[in-house]
Amino acid sequence: MTSPELRTEIEEFLYREARYADEFLLEEWEALLTDEFHYWVPAGRLQGDPSKQLAYLNDNRTRVATRIRQLQTGKRLSQIPNSPMRRVISNIEIESANDGEVLVKANFVIYELAAQSSGELRVWPGQAQYRLERVEGNLRMSAKWIELVTADAGQRNLTFLI
């Protein structure tokens, strides 16, 4: 049974992570990651070995750093301007919490405006699975896996932090 204090701490972490992503606070977002961070958006369900599959996104720590660096160049056409966006996180379930490692699942919906081109409002529903670790007393994210409701259907540009 997770203590109410830990639950609150986890929720606050997830909300902060979501806000940093929504607001393109890239350095702040990157500071939430551990050195082993794995970021995965499969083109189907969250199952199997990510290394054997072709995914929408499958970043190790080095590649996610490149992803952030690309956004920071000021030349990333598909994020000029940055998408105005907000996400809502709900149905937070703490799967397990031991030895400083926490596994959490949550549903999310992102509303994104394609301000770079058509002005279309894009809706991204799905489930996020987080692995959080305690580093020097604070929670950090060592994995974020995303299962999109539309995973099988192909996607518009996904050049923000999901």
């Binding site: 189907g44 996104l57 099988d152």
Partner: protein
Amino acid sequence: MNKEDTESLNSIGPSCETVEMGINYRQLVRGDRIHGSLLHDPDVFAEEMEQIFVRGWAFVGHASEIKNNGDWVKRQLGNESVIMVRGDDGGINVLSNRCSHRGTALCWEHSGNNSFFQCTYHNWRFGLDGNLRAVPFPDGYSKPKEELGLNRAGQVANYRGFIFANLDGQAGFIDEHLGAAGYELIDRLCEMSPSGNLDLGKGWIGHRVQSNWKLWPESDSDGYHVGFVHASMSASTDTHYDDVAIGGDAVQSSRAVDYGKGHLELDWRPSYKQELSWLGVTRERVQDYYSALSQRVGNELADQMLWDGPPHAFLFPNLFLGETVIAIVEPVAPGEMIHRHTAVQFEGADDAFNERLLRQTEAAFGPASFITTDDAITAERVQAGVSGIDTSWASANRGWIDLSRGMHREAVDENGVRSSNSSDETTNRGFWYRYLEMMSEEVTR
């Protein structure tokens, strides 16, 4: 287009008498420019789906996707949903995904394995060859079953696993469509596999883009944009494009090649400064692959392949051989398309090498990639730019798109192959030459 415009256009064009009330493509595709209306006009789109995707050859998929009898994948050929299926005899059939009774789609998932296709409406059952096998309560029919099979592609061709189909069956032989260059480009890719075979079984990823489909053959074979559209990629990570496509004519010697029939290449080979530049690694990292490859082709050829890399080429109308990635250009509507890709996997290569190709593909292609995302946004911006252009503006000299770059310095060899600096629009013109041939075909038929 109103009647007056049609008459005035028809009075100019050489083909006016046979294209009654139609669109005069010869007025809209010129040697040095094309008319922007071709990128969004719904009538143009409708005619393309017929002239190019029904009457012509197009890429459907790869034999490695359907290894076992009964394996099938669903694909889109223009407006037609088709099922590519491995039949009971091991041959590959391309069938319309539509029950011959009331038109119900037979398959709605991406892929599967079946010993027959059964419609869910009245349980009509079809064999893997598309023949009607059984209907409930057959006494109600006096027609022979042979008349009630599924529609199927009139011609299907398989070259080293690449499956091409021509729906109406009247397009001439595949040899004529692919030409020597089409075969050579496919060979060049397949020969890099230790076994000589590709495996394209990792699934296809759809990148949905709000642009006309023709902007992707253009972008996939355009060497001019790389340093601008992809500046953020170049600034944030080391890639081989720095050597082969960025910096302009003064610093690199890659070639833009038009082989004819709309088959195009950006030939990076002259620009590579080291072996394996296209993969971004040194030989030590891929020693197992090199050993396996050289066992089949010998050290000399294997060394050369490590330098040259796989081709960056487009085969008309919908197949992109994007180095270590294969992509299909899939039209949806005048301003909507899907760029669908999968990773090349070399049969007989070690797992680590093939996983490297998967990671390379994820970095380069698709909705969350570092490269084609900026092509997508660029295509969407072109679409926004051209969406107001009417076909009738052509004669008023409005709404043209210029494709003249490098016309004065193109070389033409004895086989009619055109080539020029990779920043030149030789490839783009090559696409539109073939497009014009296909779209004005009814004139000569």
